[in-house]
């Protein structure tokens, strides 16, 4: 029995989206060309853009297509900072939540290292939630010096939803732009860009059934953004580069399906996740659940647990050998699970943080996946506990 429980890393491409990509790869044309082939390609891109916008409650003119979530985050963070500083040199402060994805944290840290920014991380409560009041306080200390605020819609590690509406109301009050990384949220919870109050929202197609390598930054054309990629001037001169028509077509089909099915997906995943958590806690009584326990305060598909006395990478390996695929948090190219900045920000100690796994459900998940996990987890935990701690992290 095997189970894929890492849908937060990536989830299978929807058959309809795969078909759209394949169909599009059979056609050709550069959407920037003026001739008939180009016009045909442009029409398909624009139809995709309209579908994406409609699914997200945005206007088509707001959709800046990118090569994925990381690029959209970089465009928001760097583009907003550069534009805001160009407008007023005093705007140096970059306010980001302590639990942002590295695609936000690292460019922000780079701005601080190399571009004269001052990075301030906004603290979170033990569930990983940012306090909107604390955001306002940080702004209020010196509103004129804030470049922008960035707080994610839903945390990728522990699944906690952030009070975006409340935060947006406050950033608005001070005229400070708000970026929201919604990569994990779309398809799991309702995401309405138009009414959420954010100025720029990151979307990533492969998180909800589209292909990898495509996403968008949804931002009003009035929002001043300095490009990260300069070149042919595509995407209203904010993001140059010939558009990947096939990937965009797959993105559009997937977001359309994911948003239409979102209420049903949420209902099913919430039940499945409740079952997973209850059965894991019953099978491994020492385990501890992380993140907001309230189903309304979290992503429906995320279950994040600590297994005291175990090293997460040992557990992951044992589960992998038993056919159960999960994650220690965010994937890392070198393969070393690092201590999660999210868990540390939530107040977990290093040993607890090093013993944590994320199980994430997706639209194809079934009860059999939970059965597979619960069937092999107790033995894996016993073995990992016996193996002790190799890394000495937190020792």
């Amino acid at each position: 029995m095997s189970a894929y429980l890492d849908h937060a890393a990536t989830t299978p491409v929807l058959p309809q989206a795969a078909q759209a990509v394949a169909d599009e790869l059979g056609r050709f044309g550069n959407p920037s060309s003026l001739h008939a082939s180009g016009r045909a390609a442009r029409r398909r891109v624009e139809e995709s853009r309209e579908l994406i916008a409609a699914s997200l409650g945005a206007r088509p003119s707001e959709v800046v297509l990118t090569a994925g979530g990381t690029e959209a985050d970089n465009l928001a963070v760097k583009g907003l900072y550069w534009a805001r500083r160009a407008g007023d040199r005093r705007r140096r402060r970059v306010l980001v939540s302590a639990v942002e994805h590295h695609a936000v944290l690292d460019p922000a840290a780079w701005l601080a290292e190399a571009q004269g920014a001052e990075m301030e991380t906004l603290p979170v409560d033990p569930w990983g939630r940012v306090d909107a009041e604390a955001v306002e306080e940080a702004i209020r200390r010196d509103p004129a010096s804030v470049a922008f605020v960035s707080v994610m819609w839903a945390n990728n590690e522990v699944g906690t939803l952030q009070p975006i509406g409340d935060i947006a109301a406050r950033t608005r009050r001070y005229g400070v732009p708000l970026h929201v990384d919604a990569a994990q949220a779309v398809g799991q919870v309702p995401v309405d860009v138009g009414s959420c109050g954010a100025d720029a929202v990151t979307v990533s197609a492969h998180k909800f059934g589209g292909p990898t390598g495509v996403g968008a930054l949804v931002a009003s054309p009035d929002l001043d953004l300095v490009p990260v990629l300069h070149g042919g001037g595509q995407e209203r001169e904010v993001r140059s580069g010939t558009l990947h028509v096939a990937a965009i077509a797959g993105f559009a089909v997937a977001v359309d399906v994911a948003v239409a099915e979102q209420p049903e997906r949420r209902r099913r995943m919430t039940a499945l996740r409740g079952d997973l958590v209850a059965r894991v806690l019953a099978a491994v009584p020492q385990a501890r659940l992380n993140g907001d326990p309230d189903p309304d305060g979290r992503l429906p598909g995320n279950a994040h647990l600590s297994f005291p006395g175990c090293e997460a990478d040992a557990l992951l390996m044992l589960l992998d050998a038993a056919g159960v695929e999960c994650s220690t948090g965010s994937a890392c190219s070198a393969g070393i699970p690092e201590l999660s900045h999210v868990l540390l920000a939530m107040g977990l100690d290093e040993e607890m943080a090093a013993s944590s796994l994320r199980f994430s459900l997706g639209y194809p998940s079934t009860a059999a996946d939970v059965d597979a996990l619960v069937g092999v987890l107790p033995d894996a935990v016993a073995r990992a506990r016996a193996a002790g701690r190799l890394s000495l992290r937190g020792a």
Partner: protein, 367 residues
Amino acid sequence: MRVLAALSGGVDSAVAAARMVDAGHDVVGVHLALAGMPTRSGSRGCCSREDARDAARVADVLGIPFYVWDVSQRFRAEVVDDFVAEYAAGRTPNPCLRCNETIKFAAVLDRALALGFGAVATGHYARLETSPEGTVTLLRAADGEKDQSYVLSVLPQHRLRHAAFPLGASVKSEVREEASHRGLAVAAKPDSHDICFVPDGDTSGFLARHLGPAPGPVVDGASGEVVGSHDGAYAFTVGQRKGLRIGRPAPDGRPRYVLDVSPLERTVTVGPRAALAVDGAHLGTPVWCGVDPGRAFAALGQYRAHGDAVPVDVRPGSDGAGWVAVFAAPQHGVAPGQTLALYDDDRVLGSARITATWRHEPASVRA
């Protein structure tokens, strides 16, 4: 059997893992992150070095699972800190040996066994033979040039029973050829010779960075005369000839060698090669690959990774703890801190660290 194949990212460990797969074992590749990954932004110890990527690529080609185990903190504590401390005390350590003793065939092997593996396989050139009763014997590799039994001589029987060295019967050129046939991209990767945590090969510079400047005199052993100066006695090794920076030639015109290193007194003592001669050594508590012989015996002793094995008599010391070694012929270049590996022909009997050496056998150690 479930086998953990340690994949360094080099050609030897790649072929070793491939052979374990061919032998029908259930193999999992593990890259040991020893020296700590370079960090990008602050505390993030992520992002691959080339070796980790090469190791992952090998595992993918072999179709085996692959993980990186972070042993950097343990490696620093057990191997790097020990290396620095030994030099600081005027001794000559072998970090590869220490790594096998404390990391690869200790922390990693123990964890592997606890996680359900039966053995750890590496690309070391050494052979293992198992008797019908299950006793495992460690032997020199078929390729005498590559033989690495010396750095494995610290493994006791209960470790050797869970070790696998699939390359022991091969010569290096065959291994490279095999890697190429198997489509492993690391086939042409150059051999690593240096200490892995001193990648530029500048051990003196590495020690200087860790221990700071400690200048002092270079003294002639016979006359007591100061013949030069140094920036740190810890950077010198008994038997060393190069890099002494002695202005004046010796009276006899012959090269001078390091005879003694005293970092506390900041003194390096030099003299002619003849003054290096050592007749015997005090040894720490030995590690026996098989059973403790418990009494005196004659063996071949090797005190450098690529040195010759020379006839030696060993016997338990009178104090009951350490042992004593008496060389059949005087040796030049034996230094405290080195490990003396004991062989019976090609068979490794065990090893012990040299704690002190002597020129003429003192009465205290006479049997």
